[in-house]
Every structure is written in structure tokens, then in C-alpha cells.
């Protein structure tokens, strides 16, 4: 997360913060399609604020690789491509494996509790509420890595996670994930993690990512061929 979060919920967020979260969401879920020009004036009106917080939010999104900045020519949402997708997947597997292994070596019972709770919440949420489910799904994966003592690595993983989730949204709801039992995959990962079995946990996690990746890649190539 590029923005510092409030710990005090009574504080209402700054305009920049609101703009950041709103635009970020719109890009992730595909309301703002890849390559779309982001006109300050339009966003200004849509979010009902001045130009400064919009510009600042967009600048923050540049660092998340969700927005591109063209000097003197404004902002646009990041382009997508099969190469970019496979790069994200590859990097994600490598960095998350590092993070997961380190997380498991430091994992204590507080971590374990958080993990179990986030797993439970995710399993309870109906898949129909897509955005809410994705939120809980992300929370589960973040918690898995959360005992890793490397904030920079976690930041990278987080960024890559978001970039990947964007591709998942863009692929559309058409994703029934064929015959996979996603619930079981998560449960197995959690169990291996709770057992501190790093090899198994990493293996399961990366398979989980790669299976989804292969599925999405197929989807994109079909779409590109049409």
C-alpha cells in the first residue's frame, strides 16, 4: 500500500486518500480499461473534488504500476499484455515463495490465529459478492506471508498481487475455474502452513497460482484470437 493508513477510524480520510482508493478500485475491477486516458477534469467531476488530489492519487498509482505517466501528456491506465501477465505470475511465484518461507520460520500463534480467522471468513463469503470475496481472498494470502520480517518484500508481493487480480477481473466473471476446488486448495495451503511445512506449503501455493495463471492465459489467448 503506497498510502499510510489511518489507525484512527474517526478521522475521515483526506481527499487524496479517497481519490486513491476510488481510482485504484476502478482500475482493478476494470471499470477503467487498460490504456484508458485519465482526464483530470472527468475524474474531478466524478469524484467531486479539485484537481490536486486527483493528480496526487494518480501519481501514487504510478508507483503501483497501475497508471502510467506521460510527461506533459497526462496519465493513462497501464496497458496489459500476455508478456506482462506471465512476468507478473513468474515474479509472484518467486517472491511469494521467499516471503512464505521466511514467514513460516517466524510464525507464531498470533499469526496462526489471524490466518485461521481470515481463512474462515473467506470460506464463508459467497462467491457471488465478487469484490467482497476478493478482499477476503487477498487478506488470506497477505496473512499467510505476514510473519515475514521483510517489509520491502511484502510490499513487492502486495503490488504483484494487485496487478494479478486486475487480470483476473479483466478475464471476467466467465471464470468458473473448470473442475478445480478452490476452497480445498486454500484449506490445504493453510494446513501445510499451520504445520510449518514450508516445502509443501510453497508447492501448493505456487500450484494454486500457476493453475489460475494457466487458466487465465488460455482465456487471454482465446480472446486475442477472436
Amino acid at each position: 500500500m503506497a498510502i499510510q493508513m489511518h489507525t484512527d477510524p474517526s478521522q475521515e480520510p483526506s481527499a487524496t486518500q479517497r481519490a486513491y482508493l476510488a481510482i485504484r478500485r476502478m482500475i482493478l475491477v476494470g471499470e477503467l480499461p487498460p490504456g484508458e486516458k485519465l482526464k483530470i477534469e472527468k475524474l474531478r467531476q466524478a469524484l467531486d473534488m479539485g484537481g490536486s488530489p486527483i493528480r496526487e492519487a494518480l501519481t501514487l498509482l504510478v508507483s503501483d504500476l497501475l497508471v502510467e505517466r506521460l510527461d506533459q501528456r497526462g496519465f493513462r491506465t497501464a496497458e496489459i499484455s500476455p508478456e506482462n501477465f506471465s512476468e507478473i505470475l513468474r515474479l509472484r511465484c518467486q517472491l511469494e515463495e521467499m516471503a512464505l518461507r521466511e514467514s513460516l520460520t517466524h510464525a507464531d500463534h498470533v499469526w496462526e490465529d489471524k490466518l485461521v480467522i481470515s481463512h474462515h471468513r473467506m470460506m464463508r463469503e459467497p462467491r457471488s459478492n465478487v469484490e467482497r470475496f476478493e478482499e477476503l481472498h487477498k487478506a488470506f494470502h497477505v496473512n499467510l506471508l505476514s510473519a515475514c520480517h521483510s517489509p520491502v518484500l511484502l510490499k513487492f508481493c502486495n503490488q504483484l498481487y494487485d496487478l494479478n487480480i486486475r487480470y483476473r477481473y479483466l478475464a471476467g466473471k466467465a471464470l468458473n475455474y473448470s473442475k478445480r476446488d478452490i476452497g480445498k486448495e486454500h484449506t490445504d495451503i493453510m494446513n501445510a502452513a499451520v504445520d510449518r511445512d514450508a516445502d509443501t506449503a510453497c508447492h501448493l501455493l505456487l500450484d494454486h497460482y500457476r493453475n489460475t495463471g494457466a487458466f487465465l492465459a488460455k482465456h487471454f489467448t482465446i480472446e486475442a484470437a477472436e
Copy 2:
């Protein structure tokens, strides 16, 4: 780098660009010490421009982990710590190894020429001109990895490189690097890379980083104990 560079040098850079480069430099070389409050008004006067480009530059620097943003309480330069330093070093070794191996598998003669040239320029530059030397030193290391087809990974490596260089500047000019022959280390790395000998090149590169790292870590602990 977060900012889009101009390919056309006739264009003069935007105020934001100027501010970004200037402030970034000041942080890297230590003119703006760690944890320093970055007051818009002060920077505004120092760089002779309005507040907007300053804010935007600072926001870009947040993504580089060189500046921290505290919602409603402005900006400050990132703090340093021994933990942060060793994290940077560790991550750098892991990511640069990945990048170097991939770079070497794709390395062609254009890459090789660029590498040799940047090595030559670095070796010619007197160490007395610190900032200029560091620029060339960075160019050499960037070129080593430049054939890697993973822009995101390269971006990460670049960021980590800058974070590390900052620690080197902060440690001060007191660095004579004891008995090491830095020039030879670079030449050896280059030769292994030109031979496409990934194992040797990685080994030498990581030793190069770890030796400097150990040296700096010693320096920091001495300083912290004083």
C-alpha cells in the same frame, strides 16, 4: 525509475521532473538526512517553484521508498536502520541473481558492447568525483542486468540499488574499502558475464555486494555505539 524520461533532449523538463531529480539526489547523497521533515515551503523556495510540483515529486519519491508520507502531516525522508539495511542487502542479492541469470540467457552482442563501454567509462573516472563515479558505477550494474526481459524485476532492482547507495553515502567518504580492489572485482564480474558464465558471475556479484555490505554494517554499528 518512476518518471517517464524524455527521449527528446530538446524538451526542457517539467518542474515536477526537476523537483523529483533534485530532491531525490539530495536524499541519496545525504544532504537531506534520514527522518528529516520535508517542508513544502522550504523546498518551494530552494527550488524556486510552486508547491504543486514539489508535492508531486515527493509523492513519486514515496514509491521509491525514499520518502514517507504521513497523511495530513506532510512528508519526511525515509528512516534508516540496521534492519532495513540488511533487508535491502538480502533482497538485492536475491533479486539481482534472478535478474542477472535471466539477463545472461538473453544477452546478445549489443548488450555486450554496452556493458564493456560502461565498464570502461567507470574505470576511467577518478574516484574523487564521487557523484559522477556513482552514476557510472550504477550504469555498469544496470547494464549487467539490462538484457533481462522482466521490466518489473528490473524496476525492483533499481529501487533497491538506490536504497543501498543511500546507505553508502551516509556511511561517508570514510570508506576506503580497506584492502579490496574494487576495480578488479568489477572486471572479474564483467568477464564472467561476457563468458555467459552465470554461476561465476552471480557468485562474484553477490560477494561484491556482501563485502561492501559487511563493511558498511560494521561502520553503522560502530557509529551507533558511539
